[in-house]
């Protein structure tokens, strides 16, 4: 290698030496600047803030469901309200919390990590955010739109997968289903826009020297996620269009009386629905890929295997959807195919899990709050994967489909893996975004409450499922033996609610009173930590030039740079 050639404007030139300046202006100017912004960092923050608001809303809906189910024959809410609660809870968590918060972090981090000034298409970025925001407002307007505030308005009540023909005009009169369909359509357009933007950013905006295989794993995984969004969210958009054609133009796609097919909807929905899980979980993996090495003080183990496994998951995830439909009835070939393809996912995910363990192995581990969440994530992800493999066996699935076992399984994925990693990401990047550290003591309270609440709630929830308790039921008989279990599940739910409130308090408190973070509080290695906290609008004073996967390590350890080993 051509060693010793000095680069006057390498990554060092990218470090901003100008002191941070606080912008001053009236509140109106501040609000205006947020509304018209096309800056990827501000849009990222908008996405995250918007998602956190809906996290609280959908969390409150979940707790109302749990209050209703805490004892048999409870009548905390009406059956009609209950249907609306679980529909809105699911729809909100997937489309208004999961996607936006992950896109928010992607927006904020991808350009910084690849040494770029902004996303490839800043205005498309703003459009994507605002149309997603509109989708959220539209969905929640359904509560007060239509018949008004009395009762529960006209919120959708068809469950988050909205099976046909229940959604047809004959069975869902009024506009509740229309709110759902149009909101999903709008949010889908926003998601596709962001996915296009992330792909263009990752492939076209990397700084000098950052080849694809020197890129941090986070942009790699976001590119994979974006590809899945392109091919998985588009079918959802298409079938919402079909549903609206049925409802508004008198079409017959899902109208079984005119020869249409309800099963077609199920296929189309799950062609979206299962890859969507990977759309949500791959960014969670991406956070783990960045956080675990930093707090283990080791470079990520098996970088090429991690890339291959992530891309592999992306492709395999497109061929597993019908494992949601074993009970609908398929040929034995179909059953065998989707059982096997689903099990196949466990190979690349297993590779990733072992690589994380190997990264931690022998490292000098720092048990900070983000790292604690990562460790909990590893265990919970493995358990979630194992119940997933159980459910992929079609015979087992026939027994347990649409039971609380399934609900417990996918909440293990969505909360145990994804939400835990979102919390880890919040603790890890909050100092970069705001310039202040989150309080570590409150963080530990948050972590332990969350961990205990999670396991009390969702470990227990498997059991009533095995005993035959179906999902989406309003109430149950007292003689089924489910009473104590449901009470425990509800208590666990409330402990998690308290944990989230601790996080909210911590975020607000630390924003004003938190310790100053400085540019690089974790002694990390990727380019975002080369900028001030929060980064200036232009990100890097000069375009950085990198020579390895860990440019900041190279800068801090000129005697032992990574680039010497490439």
């Amino acid at each position: 290698m051509d060693s010793g050639m000095p680069i006057p404007q390498g990554i060092e030139g990218a470090i901003d030496r100008t002191p941070a300046q606080s912008a001053r202006g009236t509140y109106l100017e501040a609000i205006h600047s947020w509304i018209v912004t096309v800056d990827h960092k501000k849009l990222g923050i908008l996405y995250i803030a918007y998602a956190l608001v809906f996290l609280l809303v959908a969390g409150a809906e979940a707790l109302m469901i749990r209050i209703q189910l805490i004892r048999p024959h409870n009548d905390f809410v009406s059956p009609f309200t209950f249907n609306r609660l679980f529909t809105m809870h699911g729809t909100t968590m997937v489309f208004l919390v999961g996607m936006p918060i992950l896109f928010g972090f992607g927006n904020y981090l991808v350009p910084l990590m690849i040494g770029a000034r902004d996303m490839a298409f800043p205005r498309l970025n703003a459009f994507s955010f605002w149309i997603s925001a509109f989708a959220g407002l539209l969905l929640y307007y359904s509560f007060i739109g239509g018949v008004g505030l009395s009762g529960t308005g006209s919120a959708p009540d068809v469950a988050w997968f909205a099976y046909a023909p229940l959604t047809e005009k004959a069975f869902s009169p009024g506009h509740s289903t229309d709110y759902w369909a149009v909101a999903i359509l709008a949010s889908g357009i926003g998601s596709i826009g962001t996915a296009i933007n992330i792909l263009a950013t990752v492939f076209c905006m990397r700084c000098k020297g950052m080849t694809l295989f020197r890129m941090p794993l986070l942009p790699w995984l976001y590119a994979t996620t974006s590809f899945i969004v392109l091919v998985a969210v588009s079918p959802l958009t298409a079938c919402q269009a079909m549903l609206l054609i049925d409802r508004y133009l008198g079409g017959h796609f899902f109208d079984t009386q005119a020869g249409g097919s309800a099963i077609l909807w199920a296929h189309f929905f799950w062609i979206f629905g299962h890859p969507e899980v990977y759309v949500l979980v791959l960014p969670a993996f991406a956070f783990a890929n960045e956080i675990i090495p930093v707090f283990s003080r080791k470079a990520i183990f098996g970088y090429p295997a991690m890339v291959a496994a992530s891309v592999g998951i992306g492709f395999i995830s497109l061929g597993v959807w019908a494992h949601h439909m074993f009970t609908i009835g398929m040929t034995s070939f179909g059953n065998a195919f989707f059982t096997l393809s689903t099990m196949l996912v466990s190979i690349p995910t297993g590779i990733k899990t072992f690589n994380w363990l190997a990264t931690i192995w022998g490292g000098r581990i720092r048990f900070t709050t983000p790292m604690l969440f990562c460790i909990a994530f590893l265990f919970q992800w493995v358990i979630a994967g194992l119940t997933g493999i159980m459910l992929s066996v079609s015979a087992w699935n026939w027994q347990l489909h649409n039971s609380y076992f399934v609900v417990a399984h996918f909440h293990y994925v969505l909360i145990g893996a994804i939400v835990f990693m979102i919390f880890a990401a919040i603790y890890y990047w909050y100092p970069k975004i705001t310039g202040r550290m989150l309080d570590d003591k409150l963080g530990k309270w948050h972590f332990w409450l969350m961990l205990i609440g999670f396991h009390v709630c969702f470990d227990t929830m498997h059991i009533p499922g095995l005993m035959g308790m179906p999902r989406q039921i309003y109430t149950y008989e007292a003689d089924r033996g489910w009473n104590t279990l449901n009470a425990i599940v509800s208590v666990g739910g409330f402990i998690q609610g308290i944990a989230v409130l601790v996080l909210v308090y911590n975020m607000v408190h630390s924003f004003f009173r938190g310790e100053e973070a400085g540019p690089d509080p974790w002694d990390a290695w990727t380019l975002e930590w080369a900028t001030a906290s929060p980064p200036p609008p232009y990100n890097f004073a000069t375009d950085p030039v990198v020579a390895s996967r860990r440019p900041l390590w190279d800068l801090k350890h000129p005697e032992d740079p990574d680039s010497a080993f490439e």
Binding site: F203, M205, I245, F253, S261
Partner: protein, 198 residues
């Protein structure tokens, strides 16, 4: 002050990345292809499942002429791309206008076909399952033709007011990529609706 050894230093000019327009348009085409796949799947799945007529065989005529117009427009837009790359603006305006004209002829073909179906055969989107699938799929494609035509008309307006220059060749290529996609999709839609479907 530490300096970072960097192997790329002596050949900095070689740092080339794909252009964002092409990557973004390719991504959009992937997403759009998936949407078309869903509508095509629905069309094929629902073939022959109608409870009552009219059936495709009774009412559909193969639109040979209009299909040839649309598909040949891919050739002319390619000539236009070639012309602007070589700074031949007069040729560009000619080929670009021919492309638009062919697109308009295709749309006219769809319009008279739909007029016949609606007023002579009494087939609308709500008549039966075939009507729903047919108008959705062909309409989805036609709406893409309309979007393409609008963008090309804007471009031709810039071209004739001398605001379009050879340095915009790259942007023209991105738009042309979209038009090639619209043409390619028609081959699929044509095969499904008029060959397999009848």
């Amino acid at each position: 002050m530490a300096t970072i050894p960097l192997e790329h230093a002596h050949n900095e000019a070689e740092w080339r990345l794909p252009t964002r327009g092409v990557v973004a348009m390719t991504s959009l085409i992937i997403a759009e292809s998936t949407i078309f796949t869903i509508f095509v799947t629905a069309y094929l799945y629902n073939l022959g499942r109608d409870t009552h007529g009219p059936t495709p065989k009774e009412v559909l005529d193969i639109p040979w002429f209009y299909s040839i117009c649309l598909i040949s427009s891919s050739l002319f837009i390619w000539l236009a791309e070639h012309a602007i790359e070589h700074a031949k603006m007069a040729a560009f305006r000619l080929w670009w206008s021919v492309t638009i004209l062919l697109g308009l002829i295709f749309l006219y073909g769809t319009a008279i076909e739909w007029h016949k179906l609606i007023f002579e055969d009494h087939l609308t989107i709500s008549t039966n399952l075939f009507g729903t699938c047919y108008y959705s799929l062909v309409g989805l494609h036609a709406s893409h033709v309309v979007v393409g035509l609008i963008m090309m008309l804007v471009t031709v307006a810039f071209a004739f007011t001398r605001h379009l220059h050879p340095e915009h060749a790259y942007r023209v290529k991105v738009l042309a990529l979209y038009w090639h996609f619209v043409d390619a999709v028609w081959i699929v839609v044509f095969t499904v609706v008029y060959v397999v479907g009848r």
